[in-house]
Each structure stands twice: as C-alpha cells, then as structure tokens.
C-alpha cells in the first residue's frame, strides 16, 4: 500500500513537473506571440527589409477652366557625404574636389564657396546639402558627373505655373506646410498622407522577386477647383499694377463677379505675390486684401441705401429733394464733396452728384435699428460666404450705441467699414434683380476617389425687390453718362452702371489727407451680367475716385470683350436730374 502511494506520488510529481513545464512554455509562448509580437515582428522586418516612403501627392489647385495654379512636382536635393570627399579618378584622369564642386556649381548655380563651407562645416559627418530642390534635368547632369561622394534625395515640392497670377488667393507652402491662402484654408482637401512600402532586396539593391509588401498605402490629396479665370485674373492684376504705379498707390484690389451665380471670376491684389518666390514680397502684401482689409467705402455705398429706400417705398427715382449747401444733424454738419448752393435734385440727381446731404435727407426719419437692419440685410458687418482665410467682417456698430451723426454718415459709407468682397456682393445683388447669390471662390474639392466635397452655398436671398434693384441700376447708369467721372467710366458700345467712391482714411480718429478711391459697377446696364469693383489705397497722384475710373473701364471693357458680351442696342433711360 505504501509502495503504491510512493509510486503514485512519484508519478504525480512527474505530472506536476510536466504541467509546470507546459505552463512555462505557454507563458513564454504568450509573451512572444502576444506581448512582444509587434516588437519582434518589427525587429525581424527591419533585419530583412528596407522601407521606402511612398509619397502621397498633394492635390492640385485649378482655375475654372482647368488651368493649373498650384501643383506638386518632384525636385531633388543634391547631398554629399563630407567624410568621403576627396579627389577621385574619372576616365583615367584625377578630378580634384574643387574641380568637382566647380562642375556642380556650373549646373546648379550654387556658389562653389557655399558648397565648400557646407562640406567643411563638419568634415566627419555623413550628410550635408550641396543644392536644394533642383529639377530632374539638373539632377541628371549631376549624376552624369559621376562623383562618388555626391548623392540625391527626392524632395516633393510645390510650384505655381502661373506665378503671381492669383498668387494672393492660392497662397503658398513653406517648409512647415501651407502658409496662407487656399493652400492653407483648403488644406484639409489638398493634403496627402505618405505611405510606406517594405520590401526585401539583395546586396545589389534589386528587389527580391515577390517580396514587396505595401504596409501603408499613401493617401492622395484632393483637387481644389476655383471659380477664378486665370487669364482674366492676370489682366486684372496687370491693370492694377499699371494704374497703381501711375497713381502712386500703396495697394490696389479688383474683383469681377458673375452676377447670375455669384462666381468670383477674378479677385486681384496688387502688390501681387509670386508663390514661387515669396521672399521678395513684404509680409503685409502676402495675403488677399480684397477679403482681409476693410475700409470705409464712401459713396459706393449710396446705390445700396437708395435701393433699400426704393424697396421700402420711401422714395422713387424722381423724389424731389431740396439739397442745401450743408445739412445740420446731431449738432454737426454734413457736407458734400463739392461746394454748391441749394440744389433741386431728384433721387437720380442725388446719386449722379453723389450728394451726402441728399442721401441723408432721403433716409430721414429712419431709426437707428432700421438703418442697422438695412445695412445688415446687404451683408454689411458679416463675412462673405467665401469665408476666406483671415476674412474680415468689417465694422458695423451696434444700433444701440450709434450717435445720430454716424447713423446718417453710415448711409453714404462713412463710420462703417467693408471689404471689397462685401461690396462686390452688394453689386452682385443689385445686378441680379435684388437677389443675393452667395459669392463663390471654391467651386468644390474633388477627392482622390472622385467624390466632390466643399460645395459652395447657393441659397439665394431676396434683399430688395427686382423693381428697386433695376431702378437703382438705371440711376447708376446716369452716373456714368452724366456724372463728373463720366469721361473715364464710359466703355464704348456698352451701357454701364457704376458708382464712384472716395473715402477719407481716418488716422488716430481724425480724417487726414489719405484716401481710398474706388469704382464699383455693373454691365451691361440693361441686363447686368458682370459686377466689377476696383479700389486703390492711398494714392499719391490723384486723390479722388475719378482716378480709379480708367482701371474700372479698362477691366470692365476687357470682361465684356473676354466673355463676348454683344454691345448694347438700347438707350440709357432719360431720368430727370433736377426739378423745378
């Protein structure tokens, strides 16, 4: 019996030992297979594979007709291993380091001394740049030199084939990614994600057959399509540059909007930034002032106010106003830009002569809130639907805190600020029978899989009645035929409706001698198709809106010619300017 027990316990011990061993093995197995599996797998991969970055391509920015404004391209960095830099034998003759660097310098344009400094900075290191971002043809020339210590690295880069055309809109990329413009604010669409490919390769660098394992596929970026017409955009920028230089202006903007759908066909800024070389541009000029720089618009506001007053039934085109030489309001006087005796102007006359007093009198009796609502209904004080990077909503004071003087001056564009884009939206509404179609700059983002996102808002808003809008446009046409800037606003063969504006620039709360001059208008006046606004900031050779006229008529003339709008066949309506 005892012997049996002894036998039994010996067997049990064996069993227990076996179970413990199995347990230990299981634990180790779990440790290797589960706990350490990722690390071990990676270590194994690292031993037998090389990894390669698969670059995802950042999306392209196109204009409305498919012209490339920004694209990703391949550039190459020429690198060197300083510790191997030495003379070498090529085709039987010895090539010295200086000779080799001179050859590289010849092809890349980088100074020989610069490259030598890069090598001498740390002669024992394994890596230094000789030239950055060279093109494929330069790379091939360098490779043909057959210098044993020179290498190359792929550097995905961004170029802008049209240079400064739409440069302020498109923006640019820096070393840390997108810096401004569409590149920045549409980055979510454009951005790509790099992938990685692992494969095994032999000693000679050739891939071992069948060994490629793509572990992470790169994600290609989406393409952005703008509503901009790059040829028209070029013309607008060129016009701004020519006129801006002539006027000695600090800056200028221009916008062309298709009235029917609110598409921005050109949004020009001068000085224009060339995204291929931003270093030569002042930081203030890198963005798009057209969206980001609000200013007191002055008289280009008047058609908007008059359209609303017509819509409310407060006035008609021929409402008789007796306009004094000055108009007392809130303890101050409102004056016109030119001295005059008491005038008997109609509403049309008030607009033709751009009378501040006349507009104040026409709007008389409106409360602060009514005036605020009027301006707000046109989108004043709110960013446009473009929602551009750094877009400014402008300044529209809360009605509760506005003094009586400002309540009046707001009606003719003082004491309130807007961007050129907001004014372009106002004129689009006037030209489109009082219906605002939200401005569009980005018509969509096409993802790599073909789906379209970022589609623009298109909900129309009836701001004023079609009748009120049309009557305002008719009166604006007389500004072009009868107003003081008529000689520079007319476009032969076409009926044009426009309004000029001269705004004094306030400095430290006081209006000084600096001006912002602008012209905004519509053509053809009988059936407006295009709205154009041009603005010049701080001109030194011409301080009235008259001087913005040539740029307006040149640009509008080009728009009509470019889009094949047939010359007008009807006559300007005959509206009385004065009354007896």
């Amino acid at each position: 019996m005892l012997r049996r027990l002894q036998n039994l316990s010996r067997v049990s011990w064996l069993l227990i030992f076996t179970y413990v061993m199995i347990g230990l093995i299981a634990v180790r197995l779990f440790d290797i297979q589960v706990l350490q599996s990722a690390r071990l797998a990676e270590e194994a991969n690292n031993r037998r594979s090389v990894s390669q970055t698969l670059y995802g391509t950042r999306g392209t920015v196109y204009d409305a007709s498919g012209i490339v404004l920004a694209e990703s391209v391949e550039r190459y960095d020429i690198t060197v291993s300083p510790r191997f830099v030495a003379s070498f034998v090529r085709d039987g003759s010895t090539v010295t380091v200086d000779e080799a660097l001179a050859e590289i310098s010849f092809h890349t344009g980088v100074k020989q001394a610069t490259m030598k400094n890069a090598i001498l900075k740390d002669p024992e290191s394994d890596f230094a740049y000789l030239a950055k971002a060279v093109t494929i043809d330069v790379l091939r020339e360098i490779q043909a030199l057959d210098i044993p210590w020179v290498y190359s690295d792929l550097r995905p880069s961004r170029t802008y084939p049209r240079g400064a055309v739409a440069g302020n809109l498109v923006g640019f990329m820096g070393t840390d990614g997108p810096q401004t413009g569409v590149e920045y604010y549409q980055n979510e669409c454009l951005a790509a994600t790099d992938g990685t490919s692992f494969y095994e390769r032999g000693a000679d660098g050739v891939r071992i057959p069948g060994s490629t394992v793509v572990t992470v596929e790169p994600k290609q970026g989406g393409d952005i399509r703008l509503t901009i017409d790059s040829d028209l955009q070029w013309f607008a920028q060129q016009t701004l540059q020519d006129q801006g230089k002539k006027l000695g202006a600090a800056w200028a903007t221009a916008m062309v909007v298709r009235v029917a759908d609110g598409h921005i066909l050109a949004a020009a800024d001068w000085p224009s930034v060339d995204p291929n070389n931003v270093d030569v541009t002042k930081p203030d000029d890198l963005g798009a002032r057209i969206f980001s720089s609000p200013f007191e618009p002055g008289s280009i506001f008047k058609p908007m106010t008059i359209a609303s007053l017509l819509d409310m039934g407060k006035i008609t085109q021929t409402t008789k106003v007796t306009v004094p030489s000055r108009f007392s309001v809130g303890g101050a006087f409102i004056k016109d830009s030119f001295g005059h005796a008491t005038m008997k102007w109609t509403t049309t006359g008030v607009l033709i002569n751009s009378s501040n007093i006349g507009v104040s009198m026409l709007a008389k009796g409106m409360s602060a809130t009514q005036r605020y609502d009027l301006l707000k209904s046109w989108g004043i004080g709110t960013e446009t639907s473009v929602n551009f990077l750094g877009e400014d909503p402008g300044y529209l004071a809360d009605p509760a805190g506005v003094d009586v003087i400002t309540q009046n001056t707001q009606m003719f564009g003082q004491g309130v600020t807007v961007t050129s884009a907001q004014m372009a939206q106002v004129y689009q509404t006037l030209g489109n029978d009082g219906v605002r179609i939200p401005l569009t700059l980005v018509s969509g983002c096409e993802k790599a899989d073909g789906t379209m996102t970022n589609l623009p808002a298109t909900t129309p808003t009836q701001v004023v009645s079609a009748k009120a809008a049309q009557e305002t446009v008719e009166m604006m046409e007389l500004v072009v035929t009868e107003g003081s800037a008529a000689p520079v606003l007319k476009i032969p063969g076409y009926r044009v409706a426009a309004k000029t504006g001269t705004a004094e620039v306030a400095q430290n709360g006081v209006y000084g001698s600096k001006r912002i001059i602008s012209v905004a208008g519509l053509a053809p006046a009988e059936d407006p198709q295009y709205a154009v606004i041009v603005t010049f900031g701080l001109p030194t050779n011409g301080d009235s809106s008259y001087y913005a006229g040539p740029a307006f008529s040149t640009l509008m003339g080009q728009v009509l010619k470019y889009y094949r709008v047939p010359p007008s066949t009807t006559k300007t309506p005959d509206l009385p300017e004065t009354w007896k």
Binding site: V73, P161, G163, A164, P209, Q237, D274, K490, P492, V496
Partner: protein, 193 residues
C-alpha cells in the same frame, strides 16, 4: 497509463516466437529475384533522373525569375525616368503657357496690347469706340512676377523684332470723336450700305 492503473498486473512470460516449421512448405523463387532487382534499379534511376530534372528545372525557373526581376527593376526604373521626363516637360509647358511668358514673348515680337478696342456693328455699320492703333507706352508693361520662368530656364524662343518695328507698330486709322461715345447717345456713323 492503463498498465500503471492496473497496478502490477504484468505479464509473467515473454511470448515465444512462432516455430519456422509451420512455413516449411514455402520456397524461394530464384529467377524472380533478379527481375525484381532490375526493375527496382530502373525505377531508382528514373526517380533520380526525375529528381535531377526537377531540380534543374527549378534552377532554370529560379534563374529566369531572377533575371525577370532584374528586367522588371530596369523597366520600372525606365518607366519612372520617362514619367519624370513627361512631368517635367508638361511642367515647363505650363510655365511657357503662362500669361507672363506669353506677354513678354508677344512684346518681343513688337506686339502692343490695346485696352481700348473699337467695334463695328454689322447691322448698321455703327462704329463704337475710337478705331485707332495702339501706341506703345513707355518701356512697355512690366509683367507681374513668375519666378518659375527663370527657375525652369524657360527662355523665349522669339527673336526680338527689329528696332524700327519695335518703336512704332501702329498705323493710325480714321479718327472718330474720342470718348464721345456715350451709352445710348447718338453717334454720327458712316452709312456705307
């Protein structure tokens, strides 16, 4: 295991071998043994040959695959190079196509941009605008920047026009009243039909 559980119930004797005498009636067939031997030898040779053949075949296939790998690598490289050429060419083309480059080339040819066009309405021969030739203004417009023109070495293929042609490429045509063409106002028009 079951033997252990039975506890000491072991066999007491080893089993004895079956006596040969029980198979005494069987005799060896000497003639047949050689034939079998030959057959086996043949079979072995066939098998060895087959193994060698399979091995050689495998080697050839392997060499073929390896060579294919080199060919694929070289063709891939060629494809990449050609793609890069194509991309670079289209990149250059896009820069050449840029309005800045076109404007510069046009000016080098002696062309002048005319911002004030004139129109002839066919229905009544009405002339809009002032149909006069464009004058060259100063040194010509400075095109807005495009650094890529320089970066990519896109150079103008146009030979500059001669000095005389460059100086004045305008022919002043019949003058009508400049700037008098107001929207809707009456303009004296030649009645040619």
């Amino acid at each position: 295991m079951s033997a252990v559980a039975a506890g000491g119930n072991y066999a007491t004797q080893r089993p004895t071998a079956t006596p040969m005498s029980s198979r005494a009636s069987l005799t060896a067939v000497s003639r047949g043994t050689e034939a079998v031997h030959n057959r086996r030898l043949k079979r072995s040779i066939v098998v060895v040959l087959a193994i060698v053949a399979v091995y050689l075949l495998r080697q050839f296939v392997s060499i073929g695959v390896a060579e294919g790998a080199y060919e694929i690598a070289s063709l891939n490289q060629q494809q990449v190079n050609l793609q890069r050429d194509a991309e670079f060419a289209s990149e250059q083309l896009r820069v050449m196509d840029s309005p800045q480059n076109l404007a510069t080339m046009a000016e080098k040819l002696g062309m002048i941009s005319n911002a004030q066009p004139a129109y002839l309405r066919l229905s009544d021969s009405h002339v809009f605008g002032s149909p006069s030739g464009a004058e060259k203004t100063g040194s010509g417009a400075v095109p807005i920047a495009n650094d890529l023109v320089k970066q990519l070495g896109v150079s103008s293929v146009v030979v500059p026009a001669t000095e005389s042609a460059d100086e004045k490429a305008t022919t002043v045509q019949s003058e009508t009243e400049t700037g008098a063409v107001a929207s809707g106002s009456e303009i004296p028009a030649p009645k040619t039909n």
